[in-house]
Symmetry: C2
DNA sequence: TACGTCGATTGGATCGATCAAACCAGGTCC
DNA sequence: GGACCTGGTTTGATCGATCCAATCGACGTA
């Protein structure tokens, strides 16, 4: 460990030029098998690892992917992003890419952070989360033709760019279908006020499920995310004549509120009423709540795949809408 | 944006040599005020940002801090690390440092990752979490005299190194004292089996609190972490004669289990029994559970401070044991 | 006048890699 | 025999910064 192994020291050890060593690493096919073998042996023996900073200086490629880490929201669904972070790091590592974190307070400061990271660190690409209507960030990145993927669809539709997302409607549809199969007919939806793209999407799946089952009624409540919201929504719905027997919720937080209200009224989960949440958070898991799980590892893998396609300079890769799955816990 | 601004282009624009520009950035005091002003203006105008890879190549300093991102555990306390991650990134940014993530499956693979990151990326320092008895990683890093801090004390005590931690005993002590002031006398502790350093520490605070209050009995249960564990622990304790009226728990998961069991027995939280968890997770927040909160932002800031001291080459900085605070929710 | 000092600035070498072009057998083709 | 490939390898220049030694002009001093 006395001295770092460099291309030169390896070259000397293998009695070839540094360029040949470089070739062994970057385009092995141009090197004759015998020398290649000898060089590889030297690399092994000296424990040589290419120095990314030096490489970057010449190639202008850092192999670094930037990701903004969002402040931990008050909800319990923050874990989803945490899982995403882990999966993304793991997948990126398989391809010798690294994840670098940064913070930002809003869209505009985030674009400033992009500029900074590109100029100073030379970040190759970005992964964005929390896409929303009229997203400043995607516009900014597109204008500069910088590679990026979003975890979340380009909701405005005026923007075209590679993305990966989970089919929320399909998730609530799965939940609704399951409840229908269990014999439920009065299935309510507890969601957010219209206007939130993700929320509207999730509502659509429930609505379509009921339509398919030939159920005309639409019992629903729109509240802000949180346990209290879920609780009051449930209270309102349960007070109506012919109260619902099942609840499909747009989030685990809402579902927790519903469960709380049910419990307070002496209704047993599973026996008297069913509740299905969204995101399959650890909280849902520990409380035995059924929930729709997003395939986070697959989302991360797909993000990395798309970035790699773009970094190779190939045309815009196909975006992906992945199916969630239903995790059943209470019977 | 046609061409990247470099030291040379700035130098040309300001009609000085590149070294002078470099001096303006790195040791402004050696440059005369007039030229400094002129150079700063040129930097501003061209939007120059030093290229870290080039700098690193010469200085062998990358300004990058490595952090292993742990797979999301099954518990709800994973968020604590998530918060830590955010705070760490934010604090590091203030000092022009960056956080780079990596994964590892165990101590040994983590040390391999260190070696890799140092050789290829040239990471300056590491932040470790989840320290434990006989920690391979800290030994490995110390042997090579690499800068690092741990979030967590060096439990074995055979190891000496900079660390930051939260005083768990003080946290449970706060909780216990609060319950005593509320008039409780039968205060149980729900924790983990002995042998877990963190767990033993948290138990100690509770025990000391009771001693101070002159309460001899030690009602307690040791179970594995999780809601089920908390529930069964509560059941056992409540079945004994003279059941406890309050519970201090080693984690929010355990506390949630206790709350569940209380509810099942028709006992009202606050009125009939009090429960205090640990970690102040969002789950605790949404369910209205009191909990001991770790000062995560301060921990992160202290980690960065210590690393900076070490990177300046100064002798080992003083480690810090930070006090948690009690977050009261149910009355 | 010559010389040493000192603050401010400059020029060349260097970090470790890749790029681009040159080089060098040995063989093919007319 | 000379021109032309071709696969394998080497050499010199370069990316953008910092290190280090040298230079320069102004000034005080013998």
């Amino acid at each position: 460990m006395t001295q770092r192994a460099t291309l030169n020291s390896v070259a000397e050890a293998a009695a070839v030029s540094r360029q040949t060593v470089s070739n062994v690493i970057n385009s092995p096919e141009v090197v004759s098998p015998e020398t290649r073998e000898r060089v590889l042996e030297a690399i092994q023996r000296l424990g040589y690892r290419p120095h990314t900073a030096a490489r970057q200086l010449r190639t202008t490629r850092s192999q670094i992917i930037g990701l903004r880490i969002a402040p931990v929201g008050n909800g319990v669904s923050g874990v989803v992003l945490d899982q995403f972070l882990h999966s993304l790091t793991a997948t990126a590592e398989e391809y010798e890419h690294r994840i670098m974190l940064f913070t930002a307070t809003d869209d505009e400061s985030e674009t400033r952070a992009y500029a900074d990271l590109i100029a100073s660190v030379g970040v190759d690409a970005f992964v964005l989360t929390h896409t929303h209507h009229d997203d400043l960030r995607t516009r900014w990145l597109r204008e500069r033709e910088l590679p990026f993927v979003t975890f979340g669809r380009p909701w405005g539709a005026e923007q075209e760019h590679p993305w990966v997302d989970v089919d929320g409607a399909r998730g609530t549809r799965l939940a609704t279908d399951h409840l229908v199969r269990q014999g439920h007919r009065r299935i309510a939806f507890v969601g957010w006020p219209t206007g939130s793209e993700t929320g509207d999407d999730r509502r659509a799946g429930w609505s379509a499920g009921l339509a398919e089952a030939g159920i005309p009624e639409r019992r629903e409540a729109a509240v802000f995310d949180g346990v209290e919201g879920g609780r009051s929504a449930a209270a309102r719905l349960l007070d109506e004549p012919l109260a619902p027997t099942a609840f499909v919720c747009a989030s685990d937080s809402l579902a927790l509120g519903v469960v709380g209200e049910l419990r307070d009224r002496g209704l047993r989960l599973g026996a008297d009423a069913s509740v299905i949440g969204f995101d399959d958070t650890p909280t849902a898991a520990v409380l035995g709540l059924s929930s729709v799980a997003q395939p986070i590892a697959e989302v991360a893998a797909e993000c990395v795949r798309q970035l790699r396609v773009m970094l190779r300079g190939e045309p815009g890769p196909a975006s992906a809408l992945l199916p969630p799955r239903l995790v059943l816990r209470t019977t």
